[in-house]
C-alpha cells in the first residue's frame, strides 16, 4: 500500500479539513497526524469524509469517552488525536457526514476553537513582550530571531481567530430568522 507523509502547519481547522477532504477525493486518506505531519495511505478515491473537531473536554474525561463511543456507534472512526483535537472520518457510502447540524452547536464549536486559539495568542503575546523587554535591556535592538518567530506566529494565528469570531457573529445574526 502506498504511503505518503506531508508536512504542513494549519491554524485554521476548516482549511485543514478542506485540504484533507481534497486529498481523500484523490485517494489519499489520512491515517495519522502529529504536529505538522500528515500520514496518508492510498485507497479508493472519495471513500471517506473527514471532519476535525475540538473536544469540549480532555479525551480521558468521562464525557469525552461517552462522546467517542457515540461516534464509534455511528460509523465514525477516530483516525488521530492531537491534544483536544480529534481527526474523524466516516465512509462516504454511509452518506453525508456532519458533526454539527444546527446553528447553536455550530456556534458552540466555533467558540470553543476561538477560546483555544486565544489562549495560544495570549501566551505568544506574553513571550513577545518578554523578549522585547530583555533585548531592550541588553542594549541590542538588532532583530532577534526568536522575537521574529513569535511575531510571525502571532500574526498567523490571529488571522483564523478573527475569521472564526466573525463567523460566530454572522451565525448569531442568522439565528434571529432561522433556527
Amino acid at each position: 500500500m502506498s504511503v505518503k507523509v506531508v508536512h504542513r502547519l494549519y491554524w485554521d481547522f476548516e482549511r485543514e479539513e478542506r485540504w484533507l477532504n481534497e486529498q481523500a477525493a484523490l485517494g489519499w486518506h489520512l491515517v495519522r497526524y502529529s504536529l505538522g505531519s500528515y500520514r496518508f495511505e492510498q485507497g479508493e478515491p472519495g471513500a471517506f469524509i473527514y471532519r476535525i473537531e475540538l473536544l469540549p473536554a480532555g479525551r480521558g474525561s468521562a464525557a469525552s469517552r461517552d462522546y467517542l463511543s457515540l461516534l464509534a456507534e455511528s460509523g465514525i472512526e477516530m483516525v488521530s488525536t492531537y491534544m483536544r483535537w480529534v481527526y474523524l472520518r466516516r465512509p462516504a457510502a454511509l452518506g453525508a457526514f456532519e458533526l454539527f447540524t444546527d446553528l447553536e452547536s455550530r456556534i458552540g464549536h466555533y467558540r470553543r476553537v476561538v477560546g483555544f486559539l486565544s489562549v495560544i495568542l495570549a501566551a505568544l503575546a506574553c513571550s513577545a513582550a518578554a523578549l522585547i523587554v530583555t533585548s531592550g535591556r541588553s542594549g541590542g535592538v538588532v532583530l532577534d530571531l526568536s522575537l521574529v518567530l513569535v511575531v510571525v506566529a502571532l500574526v498567523l494565528i490571529t488571522v483564523p481567530t478573527v475569521r472564526l469570531s466573525r463567523r460566530v457573529h454572522v451565525l448569531r445574526s442568522q439565528r434571529q430568522i432561522y433556527e
Binding site: S69, L99, F100, T101
Partner: protein
C-alpha cells in the same frame, strides 16, 4: 420564561425529546429522528451530544442507570420533558391555525 420554558424549541431538541418517549442510547436517537422525519432533520453526533447534556441539566430527560454497559448510556424523557412537549404542541397548533387563516384569505 416559565419553568417549562415558553420559548420555541429547536427542531433538534423537539425531535430528541420525541425520540426519547422510549429509552434509547445515542445512536438509537439518531436513527429514530431520522426515521421520524424521513431524513429531513439531520442529527450530527456533536449536536446530539450537546443536546443530551443540556436536556439532562434541564431535567427534561434523564440517563438510565445500571445498564452495566457504561459506554452505551440510555436516556428517557421525564415528566418535565413531557410538559414541555405539550406546551410546544399548543404553540405549534396556534401557529398552524393562524397560518392557515392567512393562506385561506389569499385563496379567497
Amino acid at each position: 420564561m416559565g419553568a417549562n420554558g415558553s420559548r420555541p424549541l429547536t427542531e433538534t431538541i423537539f425531535y430528541v425529546l420525541l425520540a426519547l418517549g422510549e429509552p434509547l442510547h445515542g445512536y438509537g436517537i439518531m436513527q429514530q429522528v431520522n426515521a421520524l422525519t424521513n431524513g429531513r432533520v439531520p442529527l450530527g453526533a456533536g449536536t446530539l451530544y450537546g443536546a443530551l447534556t443540556n436536556l439532562t441539566e434541564k431535567g427534561w430527560i434523564r440517563p438510565l442507570g445500571g445498564g452495566g454497559d457504561e459506554r452505551r448510556k440510555e436516556y428517557v424523557i421525564t415528566e418535565a420533558g413531557r410538559t414541555v412537549i405539550a406546551a410546544e404542541l399548543e404553540r405549534l397548533e396556534e401557529l398552524v391555525r393562524n397560518g392557515r387563516r392567512l393562506v385561506k384569505e389569499g385563496e379567497a
